[in-house]
Structure formats: structure tokens, C-alpha cells
């Protein structure tokens, strides 16, 4: 790894404001949320009231009689347009509208359409559905061998070769199991000086993008145009074309700005229903979810993680076994990929010779779980960094020192066998320790206010292998535009990618026009997810800009302009075409190398093109009378290679950490028989301005990513990793209470304090 000096003054490395800044502060930025089309119908779905049941009957007659109702449809109507109406990125398991059975509360069963959204809503309430309830399963561990089976048969999509063996499997809720074996973990346990075993849990939470999920489809002369708040326009086109049996070129998908995504708007969500409705009605159809409905659409996996470590007399971890159960809810979405793609990092960023991982994706009768800012990593880090801290405390070793002794260093093999490269894990740990002033004496408070501090560090591999394609168009006046399908949902990708083009073409980044995703115009991109865009699309954009520059230079030479001439671009075009005319189109396409893990051992010597590293340190105060935890200091550090736009990167770090703070301290979807009882901002609290600590620091460690565009890599998730365990470790440090379940509520802290004092609180 090369450690670079601070950024040179170029277009890359500049902290310019977002390109769309003016549009956003004047209320004029485009979101699908705002869109209206002539003749447009509004859709409102009827949702299941039971967690698992057979549909006995659906009576739409009263709804159809309501004045102003255009139509009411059920799953059977969808079949007229799409005979096999099951969608999903990993499994084709999710019906567009329920067919025969419902598998979670809130599942769409029927849909009402009207010009007036209020009429559609009233009509939806008039649809009467009778269910025969079936036994349901909600817990991920119970789902392993429960009598309640969510899907009669597994239906993996053909997309992923490693899911093929699951095709047609019956009588199981295990959507995917991933296993990794390295060395001999049982022997390590047998020969260990100490063995530690713990179980940790995380709760189900929701992304709650403030622009609730929304899609709008309009029939065109010979196809469909879908305007959608999606992080993956290319996937939407491919999946809608597959459902309809059409070629890709008949489906156009357009995405303006997103009012937040965080993984909620990935793959395919509302698009299949609006596509079918637009074709059934021959009218534009818009479907906007309410905040409440979002909770029934996608969420973050609840997990159970059993972790066991062997430690030798010198404090070195010699073996670790990890069993992780992921509560995927009723439909797979991308959950099974989380099980594997994140599962292989379950032992943490430590150098451990003997490792065993068993990771299970479970179907249950809860709302589906998918990707949420970290793709499963925050759930894993929560467990392995809490566990690591417990071991250090038990052995009377300083928690930072214990990590230092075991940390996975450059060149050493990760659990899969892949040698670590450009992964500044040690630098991130040292930066957190330095900013925490870790070696200095610490004020532990007194009386009823006790102070504590803690750290957590995690790492993540990039989802692989994935493809990005970009075009850079130079116009005859010398101005240029970037065509790409990366979605700017607030992370600043438009600006960062414009900086790459500007650096290569030596223009001002502000003058690069970024064309938003429109699959008729912008080329393929796998999706905006998993912090992959900076590296993958960044490389494609750089290649496209270099290709454009080379073509422009070739054109210059073809019209007799000598090499090294400083003739303006517009003059080169004029010489070539006799007037202001023509284009130069640069094309860039990027896919990194990758080797999928062995199906038996889970081993691979090339598991990821890059690693993301994030660490967090916190100081807290605990009120021992109330259990209330006050965060007084939050230090985030990450390795994201060389930042393309340092200020935007810092805001990504603090934004990710504060979001994870919500998932750590209070966010929790509460259930009663599968129904979310707090599905609104009145009852489900997300971080507000009072929840951020007075002292917050974000640090970019000096590192460079080999193979990344200008040494950069992704950063959107890294600061989520360490937050939850850092806070739990600090609570332990302050009051000696160890919490193993998220969220870390005042009630659970107080119960722990009282239990420890021999004065437990009754239920």
C-alpha cells in the first residue's frame, strides 16, 4: 500500500459543492415524487391483514361501485399481462399481487385505481378479502426447523450460478446456506487456553427514505416507460422485460434524483405492478407509498449470531466459529446474497488461523429484508466487536491492544484465503485510538453519572463481480456530458464522477453535464449499491473520458493539428466538419476480476476487488438512575483510498454513523402477530438534530486503493460498521453491563444495572 501526500490541486480531490446544489436549495430538484402525467391514474393497494394465510375470496364489488374508481385488479388480472408474475433479484418468489396465499402482513393483495388518489384509497378500503389463516413463523432460529413453511418450493433466479442447487427444494425455510472452513476450528478449541462463546441479536429496522418509494409507468407506442425512484435502473429494465417476455429495448427506465435510498430502492420494488397496470389500463399509472407502507415493503435483516473463539495464553485468537441466522422475511429480495457476500467476513478483521462459518438466510412471515447501508456488515460487526471486547476484558487486556495483537494486516490471508491488499485496517484502528486519546487517563464520572468509552472496527468486501459502463460525449463547442446509470440519491455521485471526467479532460468539474439514468440513453450499470459506484463506475467513467480524449487527439491529428498543439477543441471540430458540428463519444466499460468461493470450503484467492474499512470510537455518559445513555463524543475513521471530494466524503461518514446511531439506540420495528405496531414516525423514531453528539469527528486515513480511479474507493457504508459495538462496549466500560441485543434502550441498560446490583426490575 502506498501512503500518498495530501491531494494535488486538481479537479479530483476538490471539495466542490454538489452540482445540483442550487436545484436542491430552491425546491426545484426533480424527484419521481413530483411527477404527474396527463391522464395519470393513482394506484392504492389492498394489503394483507394476516401474516400467513390462504386467500379464500376477494370481493371487489363495493370498491368498483365507488364513484370515480377506474378499476380494481387482483393477482389473476395481472396474469393476463404477465402469466408468471413472480419477481426478485435472487429468487423469483414474489408475486406482483398475491396469488392464492399471503406470506406477510402488508403484502399487496389487490389494487384500486382512480384519477384522484383519495378515491383510490377509499376504494382499496372497500375491497373485502377473506383469509384462512395458516401457522406462521417469525423468528429466524425457529424458522430453521419450523412446521410452518413460508414457500412450498424454492425458486432461485437463474442469475446466480451458486443458487442453482436450491432449485425445486421443498419443505424448508432455508433460502440459502453458506459455509466456510479454514484450518481446523475444533482442534483450536480443544487446544485453547481460553474459549469464549456468546450470542448476539439485532432487530428489524427500516430505511425510511424521506421520499417514500414511488414508481410511475406509462405505456408508449410499442413499449413502456417507467419513471422510478430506483437505485438500479438497468436491473429494472432487465427484470420488467423478463416478466413481459419482451426484449430489453422495449422498456425504458428513467431515474431523476432520489430522496434517499439506503438500499430500500434497489433491484425491483414497485415497478412490476405499475408496469402491469399501465399495460392493463393503457394509461400512465403512479404508485406512491406512504411512510407506513414502506415498513411492509423492505427492511434490514434481524439476526442471531452465535460466535465462539479460541484464545491462546498470549491473547492471540487461534480459532473462531460463527453461526449467523438472517431473518429474510417472506420474500428473498437480495437477502440470500447478504448471507454469502457478507457472511464470509463474519470472523472480523482479525488474523485467525482456524475459522468455521455457517450462515443461513431464512424465510419467515415478516416483511421482506434486503440491503440496508452495509449489506449485513453492521449486524456482523455488532457481534464480533462486542465479542472481541468481552474477550479482552475477561483476559484483562486493553481492548485496543487486544485488537492490535490480532488485527489482519496487509498481505495476510482473510478467512476466505484472499490476501489482504490496500486495506488500512491497522491505520483505521490507530486513528480511532489516537483521536480517542486512548492511552491517556479517562474520567469515569461519579455519583449517578458514569462515563465509559469503547471502540469498534469492521470491514466489508465489495459485491463481485459487477459491471459498469459509461459514455463521455464531447460536443463541437468543447463542452462535454457524462452518460451513466449511477443514481445520485444524495451520496454525491454526480459530482464525484464529473470530477473524474474533468480531471481527465482538463475542464472545470462544474461544467461537466451529468445525464441522469435513462436506459434508452445511458448505458448499463449493475446498480448503485454496496459503495460500489466510486470504484466500478469511477473506473468506467475514467476509461470513457480517456477514450474520448484519445479520439479527440486522433481527430486533431487527422486534420493536421500537430501533437502538443494547444488549439481549442471547438477549432478541431471546425477543421474536421467545416462548422460547429459532430461529436466525440468515449466509451468505458469496467468489470474487475473475481473468483467465487469454493462451494464446499468457501475459499477463494480473489474474493473482492477492494475492502472497505471503518472504525468508530465513542465516549458516553450513563445515568445509573434511569439507564439513559448520552453520547458525548463520536469519532469515525475510514479507509476509502484517496477521496475524490473530501468534504462530501466526510459528510458520508458522519451521515452513515448517525444513521447507524438510530439503529443502535432506538430504531426497532415492533411486531404483534406479524403486524408492525409502530410503522410511522409518531412511533418509530429516527435520529433527529438533538440526537447527534456535541463532539463528532470524521477522519479519512491516508491510503490509496490500487486499481481504483485516482486511488479512490467507496465510502457510503464504512462509518456504519463500528458504531453499535463501540457504544455497547462503552456502556460495559461505564457500568459493567453487557447488552447483547439491539437497540440499546435506556430500559435495557437500567435492567442490566439493577440486575447487577441484585435488585432486578420485574417484567
Amino acid at each position: 500500500m502506498t501512503i500518498h501526500k495530501p491531494m494535488p490541486a486538481g479537479q479530483v480531490g476538490r471539495s466542490l459543492p454538489r452540482l445540483e446544489a442550487r436545484a436542491k436549495v430552491t425546491g426545484r430538484a426533480d424527484y419521481v415524487h413530483n411527477m404527474r402525467l396527463p391522464g395519470m391514474l393513482m394506484a392504492k393497494v389492498v394489503r394483507s391483514t394476516v401474516a400467513h394465510g390462504r386467500i379464500v375470496s376477494i370481493d371487489t364489488s363495493a370498491a368498483l361501485q365507488l364513484k370515480g374508481v377506474f378499476a380494481v385488479y387482483t393477482g389473476e388480472d395481472i396474469r393476463k399481462i404477465i402469466p408468471e408474475p413472480y419477481y426478485g433479484p435472487a429468487f423469483h418468489d414474489q408475486p406482483i399481487l398475491a396469488l392464492g396465499k399471503v406470506r406477510h402482513v402488508g403484502e399487496p393483495v389487490a389494487v384500486a385505481l382512480a384519477v384522484d388518489a383519495h378515491v383510490a384509497e377509499q376504494a382499496a378500503q372497500l375491497v373485502e378479502v377473506v383469509y384462512e389463516e395458516l401457522p406462521a413463523v417469525f423468528d429466524e432460529v425457529e424458522a430453521m426447523d419450523s412446521k410452518a413453511v413460508v414457500h412450498d418450493v424454492l425458486k432461485p433466479a437463474g442469475t446466480f450460478p451458486d443458487l442453482k442447487h436450491l432449485h425445486g427444494k421443498k419443505n424448508t425455510n432455508i433460502a440459502l446456506d453458506f459455509h466456510l472452513k479454514r484450518g481446523d476450528v475444533e482442534r483450536a478449541f480443544a487446544g485453547a487456553a481460553h474459549v469464549f462463546e456468546h450470542e448476539f441479536h439485532t432487530q428489524q429496522v427500516m430505511h425510511t427514505p424521506l421520499e417514500p418509494m414511488v414508481s410511475l409507468a406509462e405505456p408508449t407506442r410499442d413499449g413502456l416507460t417507467i419513471h422510478t425512484a430506483s437505485q438500479s435502473p438497468s436491473f429494472v429494465r432487465i427484470e420488467i422485460a423478463r416478466l413481459l417476455g419482451w426484449p430489453e429495448n422495449k422498456v425504458q427506465v428513467k431515474v431523476p434524483h432520489l430522496g434517499g435510498g439506503f438500499g430500500a430502492k434497489l433491484y425491483i420494488k414497485l415497478e412490476a405492478l405499475v408496469a402491469a397496470l399501465a399495460l392493463l389500463t393503457r394509461r400512465p399509472v403512479k404508485w406512491s407509498l406512504t411512510m407506513e407502507e414502506q415498513f411492509y415493503t423492505i427492511s434490514k435483516h434481524a439476526t442471531t449470531f452465535r460466535i465462539k473463539s479460541a484464545v491462546d495464553g498470549a491473547g492471540k485468537v487461534t480459532g473462531r466459529s460463527c453461526t449467523v441466522y438472517w431473518n429474510g422475511g417472506a420474500y428473498a429480495d437480495i437477502g440470500p446474497r447478504v448471507t454469502q457476500k457478507s457472511g464470509f467476513t463474519a470472523p472480523g478483521p482479525y488474523d485467525i488461523e482456524n475459522v468455521a462459518i455457517d450462515s443461513y438466510s431464512l424465510y419467515t412471515n415478516r416483511p421482506p429484508a434486503g440491503a440496508l447501508r452495509g449489506f449485513g456488515i453492521p449486524q456482523l460487526v455488532w457481534a464480533y466487536e462486542s465479542h472481541t471486547d468481552l474477550i479482552a476484558r475477561e483476559l484483562n487486556i486493553d481492548p485496543v491492544e487486544f485488537r492490535r495483537n490480532n488485527i489482519l494486516r496487509e498481505g495476510r490471508p482473510q478467512a476466505t484465503g484472499t490476501a489482504m491488499k490496500d486495506a488500512a485496517i491497522d491505520l483505521v484502528l490507530e486513528k480511532v485510538a489516537e483521536r480517542m486519546n486512548w492511552s491517556a487517563p479517562f474520567d469515569r464520572g461519579s455519583g449517578t453519572i458514569r462515563r465509559g468509552r469503547g471502540v469498534g472496527i469492521g470491514f466489508k468486501a465489495s459485491i463481485s463481480p459487477t459491471t459498469s459502463v459509461a459514455f463521455v460525449n464531447i460536443y463541437a463547442d468543447g463542452s462535454c456530458a457524462l452518460y451513466m446509470s449511477t443514481v445520485d440519491m444524495g451520496q454525491g455521485s454526480d459530482t464525484a464522477m464529473a470530477q473524474i471526467v474533468a480531471e481527465v479532460l482538463q475542464v472545470q468539474a462544474e461544467n461537466v453535464r451529468v445525464i441522469h439514468p435513462d436506459t434508452d440513453v445511458t448505458p448499463y450499470d449493475m446498480a448503485t449499491l454496496g459503495s460500489r459506484s466510486t470504484f466500478h463506475m469511477g473506473n468506467a467513467v475514467k476509461l470513457a473520458a480517456e477514450d474520448a480524449r484519445q479520439k479527440l487527439e486522433a481527430m486533431a491529428r487527422s486534420v493536421g493539428v500537430p501533437e502538443g498543439s494547444n488549439l481549442e477543441t471547438r477549432e478541431i471540430f471546425k477543421k474536421k466538419y467545416g462548422m460547429q458540428a459532430g461529436n466525440v463519444m468515449g466509451v468505458g466499460s469496467y468489470i474487475p476480476t473475481y473468483k467465487s468461493p469454493d462451494s464446499v470450503t468457501g475459499m477463494s484467492d480473489n474474493i473482492t476487488p477492494f475492502w472497505m474499512i471503518g472504525g468508530t470510537g465513542v465516549e458516553i455518559e450513563v445515568d445509573t438512575e434511569t439507564g439513559h445513555v448520552k453520547l458525548t463524543k463520536l469519532i469515525n475513521a475510514a479507509d476509502m483510498g484517496r477521496p475524490l471530494n473530501p468534504h462530501i466524503v466526510e459528510t458520508q461518514l458522519s451521515g452513515a454513523a448517525i444513521m447507524q446511531l438510530g439503529f443502535t439506540m432506538f430504531e426497532n420495528m415492533e411486531f404483534d402477530a406479524g403486524q408492525v405496531t409502530n410503522a410511522s414516525f409518531a412511533d418509530y423514531k429516527i435520529p433527529g438534530i438533538h440526537d447527534i453528539p456535541p463532539d463528532i469527528e470524521n477522519h479519512i486515513v491516508l491510503a490509496e486503493q490500487g486499481g481504483g480511479p485516482f486511488g479512490a474507493k467507496g465510502v457510503g457504508e464504512s462509518a456504519t460498521f463500528g458504531v453499535s459495538p463501540a457504544i455497547a462496549n462503552a456502556i460495559h466500560d461505564a457500568v459493567g453491563v453487557r447488552l447483547t441485543d439491539l437497540p440499546l434502550t435506556a430500559e435495557s441498560v437500567l435492567r442490566g444495572i439493577r440486575l447487577k446490583a441484585g435488585n432486578p426490575i420485574g417484567d
Binding site: P17, R18, E20, A21, R22, A23, K24, V25, T26, G27, R28, A29, Y31, H33, N34, R36, H118, H207, T208, P209, L210, E211, P212, H257, L258, G259, G260, G261, F262, T290, M291, E292, M489, G490, Q491, G492, H647, I648, T651, S654, G655, I658, M659, S680, F681, A682, I686, P687, G688, I689, H690, I692, P694, I696
Partner: protein, 159 residues
Amino acid sequence: MNPHAKSISFLLNGSATEMLVQTHENLVELLSRLDLNGARESCGQGLCGCCTVIVDDIAVSGCLYPAAFVDGKTVTTIEHLDHDVQLSPVQQAFIEEGAFQCGFCTSGFILMTHQLLEQNPMPTDEEIRDYLAGNLCRCAAYPEIINAVKSAAGKMART
């Protein structure tokens, strides 16, 4: 004509406006019919501040405010702040400090900041937090928002 529709007239961003509104229609819906999309319904419960609109100099939650109630009143939206082409000092400060990511909640934060600085030209950090506690930002640009409010206060004090 719908028998429940009501004819109202109000001053919208400086222009006299007449509209027929339904009794169930809220202010955000009315504004979107007038192609003003800066106020947005998000939580639908008046808890997130994305739908903030100024009615007779007071910030209201447009998603809870019946459209018919603006009859005879003055309504100002985010779109009015740069009516003379210049961004307001608050808008400039939000850009300079990078006080937003996705931008969906930004209209509400900016309108509330204007109202705060009218009442309290030099607020402390704690006063800023208290005043903006009713606005939510899922991207969590809160540290940058606090910086932007302070920067805007400084800009306005200098002019």
C-alpha cells in the same frame, strides 16, 4: 363541479391566486397542482418538516393544513426565496456548508432557518437544535445544517 369544492383566493409567492379546492385537499396537494413541488409530503403526520410552507409568516406542516384554510392568506414557499434570482443568505450557506445530501428535506430546513433567524439573529447551537428539532433529515446532514445556520446568521449580520 364537485359540490364540496370551494373557491379560494390567496397571495401565493407575491401573486394573487384563485383556486377551486376540495375539502379534503391539503396544502401540499394544492401547491403541487400549481407546479410548486418544494414542499413535499413524506411522513404525512406533520413530524418530519418536509412539507413546510409559510402561511401568514408562520411555518406550517403543509400535509396537515387544509388547502381551503389559506383563503385570504399569504402563502410563501421555498420557490419564492430566489424570486429576484439571488439565492438568500441561508440558501447560500446551505450550499457552502454542504448542509444536505438527497435534498428532500432541505426546503423545510431552509424555511425554518429563515424563520429562526428573523426571531433570533444570532442563535446558539442549542437554540438552533431546539428550533430545528421538528425537521428530520434521514441523510443526517445535521452537523452541516448547524454550521450552515451559523454561517447564514453571520452573513445576514454583515449585510
